[in-house]
């Protein structure tokens, strides 16, 4: 019980001061990513808003980015990615494994 106000005191300021997360749009059309490459700031959380604009379902997946999302046609969703170290991180559509992967460049 004593901890509760303390917990609130730690959480509340961060809610109040929170700036909106940098966010990026990503379209998937039957396994093709647009844009195929996203530049993001390293060391900072960010949001990717994905839209499946294709005819069929896609599975937006990346182990290093810790994403696994099945999206039916017409569905939009978002993922928030943890702060990345500088480098490039691939993602792909598991339902179209023959197509080139997309990439996130963290700088």
């Amino acid at each position: 019980m004593k901890l509760y106000p303390l917990l609130l005191a730690t959480i509340l300021p961060s809610i109040a001061l929170a700036a909106p997360l940098p966010s990026y749009e990503l379209q998937i059309r039957d396994g093709h990513f647009s844009p195929a490459s996203l530049q993001v700031a390293a060391g900072q959380r960010f949001k990717i808003i994905v839209h499946n604009l294709g005819q069929g379902p896609v599975e937006f997946e990346s182990t290093p980015l810790r994403i696994e999302k099945v999206l039916s046609p017409g569905v939009s969703s978002f993922v928030v990615i943890h702060p990345l170290k500088p480098g490039s991180y691939g993602f792909f559509d598991e339902f179209h494994p023959e197509l080139p992967p997309g990439v996130i460049e963290a700088r």
């Binding site: 961060s14 959380r45 290093p64 099945v70 999206l71 023959e98």
Partner: protein, 281 residues
């Protein structure tokens, strides 16, 4: 066609591993006919659930990808990973014994409650990956040549069944004790992978909130980077990640949770102390 073959095969590997190991183990148990009914019942229930989940993703895609759906999917993985721990513990107590000993002890091993968790585990394993296969095939059938798609899916399933047969053959050729030692640990690795997959879904939800920075370090910041040795974004790395929970850049929480799971499994399996195990199994 190759695409359908690969996807159906890969999506079925996890479930077939669980079914195959449990099948090989149950075959050695007294009163197995009764138990096998639970195993196949679990498979049937899993197929039904796979269809339902696929329907949910198709009809309520926005809900399934929203917080409620993500927590629901994380919950499925978490329950499956705990059931694997329980099952492996149960096997460790009864699997390594000789048949004659088992028969003297008949009835003790295969109790109703345990058989229900066996059914549930099999159902979850089939449903999780099965639903993705259903969605893939449904989507592909609209665009691809249906007969070539069906052929690919059939071949993928046959390849999966061949793996199942290989596992059963292995249980005959390799010494009984060794086979169960290996298969118990294969199950534990898979259980760890399910746990990490549940954690990833949960942490993606936490990432979207505004929590104190220290928490984000715990669930986000990599503890080490072994991507030079094995990149988890590569094809082999991704497969290994889905079967063992391997991550090239694990967060502190991922490493702690997986390490803790293995340690708990090791304690439960190495020394199946009646107290520890009976509380679980």
């Amino acid at each position: 066609m190759e695409q359908a073959l690969l996807i159906v095969w890969r999506e079925s590997v996890e479930a077939l591993l669980v079914i195959g190991i449990l099948f090989a183990w149950l075959r050695q148990q007294p009163g197995r006919r009764h138990a096998m009914a639970y195993l196949w019942g679990g498979v049937g229930l899993g197929l039904l659930l796979a269809g339902l989940l696929a329907g949910l993703m198709a009809l309520a895609g926005n809900w399934m990808n929203g917080p409620a759906g993500e927590w629901f999917q994380a919950g499925l993985s978490l329950v499956a990973s705990l059931l694997i721990l329980q099952m492996a513990c149960w096997m460790a107590r009864h699997g390594g014994q000789l048949r004659q000993q088992l028969q003297r002890d008949a009835g003790a091993a295969l109790q109703q409650g345990r058989l229900l968790s066996l059914s549930l585990l099999v159902a979850l394993a089939v449903a999780r990956e099965g639903s993705e296969t259903v969605i893939f095939l449904y989507g592909a059938s609209a665009s691809a040549n249906p007969s070539s798609l069906a052929l690919g899916a059939l071949l993928g399933l046959l390849l999966g069944l061949a793996c199942f047969a290989l596992l059963q053959a292995g249980s005959r050729f390799i010494a009984w004790r060794q086979f169960f030692l290996i298969s118990e640990w294969l199950l534990i690795l898979l259980g760890g992978a399910l746990l990490i997959s549940a954690l990833d879904r949960a942490s993606a939800q936490w990432m979207a909130l505004e929590l104190p920075e220290q928490l984000y370090n715990l669930i986000g910041t990599p503890l080490w980077d072994s991507s030079v040795l094995l990149d988890d974004g590569s094809r082999v790395g991704t497969l290994l990640a889905s079967l063992t929970g391997y991550r090239a850049m694990p967060s502190t929480l991922q490493a702690l949770l997986l390490g803790g799971y293995w340690l708990l499994a090791w304690r439960l399996l190495r020394k199946p102390a009646p107290v520890l195990c009976s509380s679980l199994a």
